[in-house]
Amino acid sequence: MIKLNQQQSNSLLKRPFAFSIAILFLLFSQISQAGPKIENWITSSGLRVYFVNVPELPMLDLRLSFAAGSAYDGDKLGISGMTTSMLNKGAAGLNADQIAENFESVGANFSANSGRDAISISLRTLTLDEQIQKGMENWLKVIEKPEFPEADFKRLKKQALIGLQAEKQNPGSIASKVFYKNLYPNHPYGEPQNGTEESINAMTTDDLKAFFKRYFVNKNGQIALVGSIDRKQAEAIAEKVSKALTSNDRGEGEKAAPIPEVKPLTEAKTIRVPFPSSQAHIFIGQPGNKRGDKDYYSLYLGNHELGGSGFTSRLMKEIRVKRGLSYSVYSYFIPMKEFGPFMLGLQTKLSQTDEAIKVAREVLETFQKEGPSEDNLKASKLNITGGFPLRTASNDDIVGYIDVIGMYDLPLDYLDTFTNIINDTSREQVIDAFKRRVDLDKLLTVIVGGEADVAKSDSANGEKKESTN
């Protein structure tokens, strides 16, 4: 609880925006060598369980996830996030105050998060008898019998509207929203995760209850358990969770319908959004890859050199080190259930906008043409495989990994095989994957910043004002 200093600056910032779950999944994806021993089974009510015993610290991390992210919002934009946020606002006869008190009086942390593909409901508790019992009991109520009280929902709606306002004063948030919208026209990934003023205003608690009943079910979910409990305890907890999920006639439920396929962009497009900032926020990209994708490793390895490795990446060298154009510059693939974004991002003072975009594009073009050199490829492999033990060093890391493995149906030995696959990936495979998967003639470019009179869009679909969403 100690608050160290209030302000701090870093010499390097690789990823300036929090893309909630989507970005976490990206980080979790950077793996290799022998991972933790994952045990896996299915409860009697059909909930998939992933368990790792870590005995050293007397604590447990538990994460229940459902394929119920904003991609499943349908026409009620923002409902995934609102449903998830409402869970602890009233359940099984307890109000929001009581639920919070019950967790916090035993030092437990409750959290609920929503992303595009999935949502998760988590608990972190000590494993001493009193703490784990009280913490679990309260947590089970939240997933078993959430009540979605009207008064709390009304308040949460107002807060959601404030959240939308906050997005509008942040050029990075605006750029991200415009980028997704234009990357995924007519696809749920392109819709605003937090909804719109209209959709939030129109939403009712009945909508939330229906969404909950449809998606927060055994067969559409999984639970990850990591900590100092044994297999028997894990089985008992998983059974209780699974049973709680059958309440309200949910039974075992059904898997969510597949997310529609993502279509590639059909043309290059540049969108400029005026904004009174000193910097332009720039995103360049196109639909990238998905989980389980056959090119996943080649793209991951190649991108490490392009813009995924911080100071040693080409983008960093050309944009920042040689030219001083941006504090942060990066590229990455965000593999999702369907094609997640491949994106390149930077921020630069307005007068340097065109120069920065030109250099970034040149770096991408050169990389696609030449690919990595053998030496650089070797360096990337050393970094990825050498850093492997870091990826699963904490309980927090492990719970994130096994959550991804479950959510995307990755093999249980995913962690164990990663290093070898990376080491076996050749320069030719990287070049081939980048040639096939990145189309330089159909890149989407979003620029937020600058004045309206110079900010012209070359597309009829361009955003006219910063306040479109």
């Binding site: 609880m1 100690i2 608050k3 160290l4 200093n5 209030q6 302000q7 701090q8 870093n10 010499s11 690789k14 980080l27 610290l57 007397p58 929001a96 105050d97 919070a100 967790f103 916090e104 009086s105 035993v106 030092g107 942390n109 508790t125 001493l128 709390d152 308040r155 107002k158 807060q159 404030i162 306002q165 906050a166 004063q169 050029p171 009174p276 900032s277 910097q279 911080g310 100071f311 040693t312 080190v321 040689k322 001083g324 941006s326 504090y327 942060s328 921020q347 630069t348 003072k349 360096a379 050393l382 970094n383 050498g386 850093g387 033990p389 870091l390 904490s394 927090d396 004045e451 910063e466």
Partner: protein, 473 residues
């Protein structure tokens, strides 16, 4: 992950529990938990070594995973700077990733990458620190690199010319285009008249514009010396072997005389300070800060030892979770806040503030939010906090201490920062017992003593339409 390593405002780090400081007078179940936990936790000591040249070495073993974190902390940051050179410590930090006498620019990063390390650095008001997180069998490579850049960095004017532009971009990104950051920056400059905490870590833009490569070079020579540094290693390592390694790589450097640091104790505030900022924004916001003594002042005997702990608990009574008073009374309850936070910043080198910040709920005025916050402050002065609330904070502190040990980076950062600000790394053993000993009466006492108008600064952000052009040069 960068996220977990950043020590931003909202980051809370708590402490290692000790078997040595159990307080028998406590009757709370928190105490029982504490005892029970200690049975399950063998306390792992921190090994401390002092090299002849003045370098302090702290090592803590954690064998859960075959990894280690190495950090080098320098006692220099914004609070060591003066007007006109603000941001110099941070700009120097950027230059520390360039070449040394034996390494070309870029080579350092290639080496670090080749050993699979994650690395970065951070600058704050009181310190500048550099780190690598890596497989523990690669520790020696990282230590050699850190030793090299303690004394051998080369300051190429051409490199500086580019890097200072990067720093300016960082400032634009971090502060200039963010209404909340701008508010905080101006708030600090008004809350403190002469304390160096008034200046932003990133530096004022005008100072960055006039900064030269020689400024950075002189600053480096002045402060980057073994007797002004602490080396921290946490992870799957053998303490004595780390000590030997430190001697091998850092031992050859001589101790150097350090500049005298003037105390610059903040002059007494004589009345409330209010500022209003008008910025292109969508949301109004409020920031309030009360001058409070830091833990270091208790250590020096300027205030009673329990006061900082009481302030810490007080901040958590207001905002220590979803059941704390701000969430319960202001966000729910009266519904006057969309968000409200409070934090006691008492772990630095100098006295700082107890900060309260908030965003009014939709349709609520900033004035109304401010009044509601002040009512909460008055309640702290007029009524004792309940047993249940006190128990809740203590339970969270005990659990939080275990949770935080999940990350060796956090552990290293705690040790390094405590040592660097002058509290000493052993303070880590005093924190939990200190918090557990706090009484309701003590909370009321510190509220009455410190949360008074004469200690208060208030900043209010009034949004201007985003269409209006921001004032720029």
């Amino acid at each position: 992950m960068i996220r977990s390593l950043s020590l931003a405002t909202n980051n809370r780090v708590s402490f290692l529990l000790s078997t040595l400081f159990l307080i028998s007078a406590l009757s709370f179940s928190a105490n029982a938990t504490d005892t029970e936990l200690n049975k399950k936790n063998n306390k792992i000591p921190v090994h401390e070594y002092d090299l002849e040249n003045g370098l302090k070495v702290l090592v803590k073993q954690d064998k859960r995973a075959p990894i280690a974190v190495i950090q080098v902390w320098y006692k220099v940051g914004t609070s060591y700077e003066h007007e006109g050179i603000t941001g110099l410590s941070h700009a120097l930090e950027h230059m520390m990733f360039k070449g040394t006498k034996t390494r070309k620019s870029g080579e350092f990063e290639r080496l670090v990458s080749a050993i699979g390390a994650r690395n970065n650095a951070f600058t704050s008001q009181d310190y500048t620190a550099y780190y690598e997180v890596l497989a523990s069998d690669k520790l020696e490579e990282a230590m050699e690199i850190e030793a090299d850049r303690m004394r051998n960095v080369i300051f190429d004017p051409k490199e500086f010319e580019k890097e200072i532009e990067v720093v300016k971009e960082e400032r634009r990104w971090r502060t200039d285009d963010k209404p909340a950051s701008l508010t905080r920056e101006q708030f600090n400059a008004v809350a403190f008249l002469n304390s160096p905490y008034r200046a932003p870590v990133i530096g004022w833009m005008v100072d960055l514009e006039e900064m030269t490569v020689d400024d950075a070079k002189i600053w480096y020579k002045k402060w980057y010396t073994p007797n002004n540094a602490t080396l921290v290693v946490v992870g799957d390592v053998e303490p004595d072997a780390v000590h030997e390694m430190a001697k091998k790589y850092f031992g050859a450097y001589k101790s150097n005389p350090l500049p005298v640091v003037k105390t610059r104790t903040e002059v007494e505030q004589k009345g409330i300070r209010n500022i209003t900022l008008k910025l292109p924004a969508k949301l109004p916001s409020l920031r309030m800060g009360y001058k409070t003594p830091a833990m270091i002042s208790a250590k020096k005997g300027k205030v009673p030892e329990w006061e900082p702990y009481a302030l810490e608990v007080l901040a958590n009574i207001l905002d220590g979770g979803d059941s704390a008073r701000f969430a319960k009374n202001l966000i729910r309850g009266k519904e006057v806040a969309a968000g409200a936070n409070s934090g006691y910043y008492g772990y630095g080198r100098l006295d700082n503030l107890l900060i309260i910040s908030g965003t009014p709920a939709k349709g609520v005025s900033t004035q109304k939010l401010k009044e509601s916050i002040l009512e909460e402050i008055e309640t702290l002065k007029s009524e004792l906090v309940s047993e249940a609330e006190l128990k809740r904070v203590k339970a969270q502190v005990i659990a939080g201490e275990v949770f935080e040990r999940d990350s060796i980076q956090h552990m290293a950062t705690l040790l390094g920062s405590l040592e660097t600000v002058g509290l000493g790394h052993k303070y880590i053993d005093q924190y939990v017992p200190g918090v557990l000993a706090v009484t309701a009466q003590q909370i009321q006492d510190v509220a009455k003593k410190y949360l008074i108008e004469n200690h208060l600064t208030v900043a209010e952000l009034i949004p201007l339409p985003l269409g209006e052009k921001q004032e720029k040069k």
